[in-house]
């Protein structure tokens, strides 16, 4: 559906050139809910805008539905109005001088479809009913609440039956409760209509809830593409691992035989064939199991509970293991301060990377 090859884009600001995209490659299949995830400044919005035709890349090619819309080598850059996509903007971009119905109608009667007023009316009604706003047709758009504007923006994007819908942080301006509701609705609609969605967000929870596929971006590059669970369990780099929630890093030396000599002693890992020399071993807090007595042999180390915070359904502990603090999440009766516990790190839950993590995350 979307095919992006070698797309680069530089911005010049204050006489400096900043690379927003560095030779990005990406394939999005038809019907997929595809999320671009990354911190601000990672280039995700620039990539989305390049697909929409709102930003002209410096290099590469983009095709939509098999049709080339941008090609540097062919000197082609189709204007946005010829790309037949729907788009939801971060600010919603609801035209304040028009009513709800006119906001959608303008697109139908003066956009690519050039529908008659009568044909448009039926479509307007249908797309508004998708977002439960059918009773708001005559309301001036500027009198809508943020949540309602968001829904109108969605209805407008869907009205032309686009094969592809682009969404740029559509939930970031909503309050927390509304966000959950709208998120669920977006997912439901996407499945119901079977549309392809390219969705930009910086929120990894949002990404994991919505996405079929996620592309993690940083510094204008795509770090990894995969299904949510895949990215969480098998991150391709320490950066990706850190982006999906907190993680403990343990320094060590690998010798290519799945056994890593670490600062906590020897640890068995599932697969460390790709690493030699200095490595870091990562384990997520919920995978740091606390046990009272020892009944496993491998990856079990004695430690002391330094501090624990009771959160109701779980407890977060700082465990002192040979002078190194590990964060563990466990069930509420797992540990009291100054208890001596055994820490068990299941080998299939450990990830190993060459030691090139940002130093600040290693404490």
């Amino acid at each position: 559906m979307i095919s992006i090859a070698g797309v680069s884009k530089n911005f010049s600001a204050d006489d400096r050139s900043v690379a927003a995209l560095r030779s990005v490659h990406l394939e999005v299949n038809r019907g997929e809910f595809f999320v671009l995830l990354g911190p601000s400044g990672s280039g995700k919005t620039t990539l989305l805008r390049a697909v929409a035709g709102l930003e002209k890349p410096d290099q590469g090619e983009i095709s939509l539905d098999g049709k080339l819309v941008y090609s540097r080598s062919q000197g082609l850059c189709a204007p946005p109005e010829e790309r037949q996509v729907g788009m939801v903007f971060q600010s919603y971009a609801i035209w304040p001088h028009l009513t709800v119905a006119e906001n959608i109608g303008l697109v139908l009667t003066h956009g690519r479809l050039r529908l008659s007023k009568k044909e448009a009316a039926a479509r307007i009604h249908h797309s508004l009913s998708l977002v439960q706003l059918q009773d708001f047709e005559t309301r001036p758009a500027r009198l809508l609440s943020g949540g309602q504007q968001q829904r109108v923006a969605l209805a407008r994007a869907l009205a032309i039956n686009p094969a592809l819908v682009l969404m740029d942080e559509p939930l970031s301006n909503l309050d927390a409760r509304l966000r959950e509701e709208v998120r669920a609705n977006i997912k439901k609609l996407a499945v119901q209509i079977g549309m392809t969605v390219l969705y930009v967000t910086h929120d990894q929870i949002e990404a994991m809830m919505l996405a079929d596929q996620i592309a993690v971006m940083a510094h204008g590059e795509i770090l990894q593409v995969g299904r949510p669970a895949e990215l969480y369990r098998h991150p391709a780099s320490a950066l990706v691992a850190e982006f999906f929630g907190s993680i403990n890093w343990i320094r060590g030396m690998a010798h290519g035989n799945n056994r890593v000599e670490t600062e906590l002693g020897p640890l068995w890992v599932a697969d460390s064939r790709h690493c030699h020399g200095a490595v870091i071993v990562g384990v997520r807090p919920e995978d740091v199991h606390l046990q009272r007595s020892s009944n496993e042999n491998e990856n079990r180390i004695e430690g002391k509970v330094r501090n624990s915070v009771f959160l109701g359904d779980q407890i977060v502990c700082e465990i002192d293991v040979r002078g190194k603090i590990l964060i563990a999440k466990g069930s509420p009766n797992d540990g009291e301060p100054s208890d001596t516990v055994f820490v068990y790190l299941p080998r299939e839950r450990l990830v190993v990377f060459s030691d090139r993590v940002p130093s600040d995350s290693l404490g």
Binding site: T45, R49, A52, G53, L54, E55, K56, P79, P80, E81, R83, Q84, V85, G86, M87, F89, Q90, S91, Y92, A93, W95, P96, H97, L106, V107, H110, G111, R112, L113, R142, A153, R156, A157, I160, L166, S172, N173
Partner: protein, 566 residues
Amino acid sequence: MKGRGLAVAISATALLPVLGLLLLVLWMGFWQNGPGEPIVYTTSHFRKIFTDAFTYKTFLNTLGFATTAVLVALFFAIPLAWLVERTNLPGKSFILAIVTLGALLPTFFTAMGWVFLLHPRIGIVNRFLMDIFGLTQAPLNVASIVGMGWVEGLGLSSIAFVMIVATYRSMDPALEEAARVHGLGIFRTLLYVTLPLTFPGILAAAIYVFTIALSAFEVPAIIGLSNKIFTFATFIFYKIQPLEELPSYGVAGAVSTILIILALLLSWSYFRLLRFSHRYAVVTGKAYRPQPVELGSKGRLLAWSFLGFYFTVAKLLPLLLLVWAALLRYFQPPSWAALAQVSMNNFYGLPWKLLLHGAWNTLILMLAVPTLTLFLCLAISWTVLRSGVRFRVLFDAVAFLPHAVPHLILAIASMFAALFLLRNVVPLYGSLLILVFVYTISRISFATRIINNSLAQIHPELEEAAFVGGLKLLQVMRKILIPLLKPALVYAWIWMALLCYRELTMASVLVTSQANVTLPMIVWSLWLGGSLNQAAAANLVVLICMVPVVLLYFVFGRRSRIAEGA
């Protein structure tokens, strides 16, 4: 808070004269006889101007003049603003700077240039057209309502441009992008989204410009006065400085009162509209510049032709004509015969002693007025935004008045006060001091607006932290506020200095002797005295002297913020 009383007192001192002058104008309108005689009150002036056909003619003249000016200003400003804000035209920031700076080009300068171009008798365009087509009458006449409106509109196009650029900037670019993405082309997006959304802003700019044009003095004075075509401003001026009869302050006061009411009404509707247009200004989370509209080679050619046309008629032609006129003894169209007469005699013959004296006075004004204004307006802004005293809204409202009230009227009221009320108290009449006083008062609105905008962006806790640390208000001002406000203060100072330099309207009333003569005033007296070519030469000298200050502005004062108002 120690020092609060002082700040409030300074603000009150600055603002009371504003109210005083306004009341004086009202009062003046009811005086039966000239000042100096016993006061007898009458409503006859009001009755007279409402029954006199000449009033209505003047009113229609003024209306036609201001409307033409608005149309001309918008005709240039809207496309220019769109080109600068929304397209990929190269050199946009330079164009922005130059057009903005155009607001400083003295209007009397362009007005003189256009007289040499389009005067029915001497205007070279007319002579040219008459020669070619064998006409017996001049086809174009600058000494007409439309002609004067055209020249005024050229002058006001800079301000309109600045305001419309601001409208474009306050609009969320995503609103236009949403239209593009959903299939509307450039033209339809412009028609259905950009134009309707910027309409309130453009209308507000139109009203703003109209208000200025309504009481504009320079163009009607340079072009209209000698041809007996009056607008309200020149009519009032004529009443207090008539050629034959005695001055009639009563009539001037009555007409001024009406003009003030009109101006206040317009300013009120301007603010209403502005608030309406702000509704459309959605503040977005991200500060990105939208991808500009790509102009093709045809579009670019069109854009450059338009820009070229604008600069030619608004700046280049008047300048060339003045240079040509300054080099000739008698004005005549360019020809080989005329070229042989070109000389610097006009320059040698200028009243250099007077010019030097005028330059000295102007320099004093340029240094004193901005400094004094900023000092007073700091106090006013602080009182309005930070002091927490009751009636601070009132301070804000009064500080706005000098913007709405025509400056010519402020000057007349001050002169009236100096001449008849304060004559035995302070010898203000004919002094440089009265110029400092009125110039300062007239700039209070501009300076408070700039300082208010900047002060509102400084978190009050920055000051509170200093108060808690034991600093007094004066120290907080010196150590915290003034350094933080410095960019805005520098910008406002230089801009006001430049406005002082070119000020003719107020000077025309207040300058009565060599003692307080200013540079623009010398140019104008030469012009009024009929030495057009000498006036052109003097004008060029004045313009050249302005260059260093403009450079100063470019180096220190130019900021992304744009000049609000003149």
